[in-house]
Subunit: 117 residues, 2 copies
């Protein structure tokens, strides 16, 4: 299938402070702001807080999704951003969303994989 090129997916792990990894409402505001700034379209989201302050969030976009899972007890988060290219080439927006996320969380990257899928 020669035109099979859904888009770029960045899968990352990063360390950050307990307070930023527990900041679910700040993350919600950041994700919504960034989605709007990049001209992406949200079609739904889930934010769930665990008793210890950890949270998990997924934003569904017409262009695919963004997700984060935080483990403040380990000082860690995993983050994904995947935007499809069917309507536009969103490769640069994937990189921009990821860079903004590191900045928002005051994060230190532990791992990053870029998957062209």
């Amino acid at each position: 299938m020669s035109n099979y090129n859904p888009g770029l997916h960045i899968l990352a792990g990063f360390s950050a402070s307990v307070s930023s990894l527990s900041g679910m409402e700040a993350c919600r505001q950041f994700f919504d702001d960034t989605t709007a700034k990049l001209g992406l379209v949200k079609v739904g989201d889930v934010y769930h807080r665990f008793p210890n302050g950890a949270f998990t969030a997924v934003v569904c976009l017409t262009e695919s999704h963004v997700s984060i899972h935080t483990w403040p007890e380990h000082g860690l988060a995993t983050f994904d951003v995947f935007l499809s290219n069917f309507n536009n080439d969103n490769t640069e927006k994937v990189k921009q969303f990821y860079a903004a996320t590191l900045l928002h969380f005051g994060a230190t990257e532990i791992s990053k994989q870029e998957v062209k899928r």
Copy 2:
């Protein structure tokens, strides 16, 4: 960070029939059943249908997430399953969820990447 081993993430692309790629309610039932069978815990989900029958769905689990984006107009879907290992080793459950998904959609795998993240 020697113990940094959040878990296995399978990223796949597959082809399937227009009818299965448009079957959002069947997918919802399948995801819920599979989540229960594997002993996973759902904390929220989003299902969104597009005007052409395509749909996007994300299931948030305490163990991370499952997502699918379908493009019946291209005969394609992208699928992700990522389960963290912090509380249990969920590696086999990731593989089982993926195998069950191919079966549910009557799918032909186009691409699969296994990322240990």
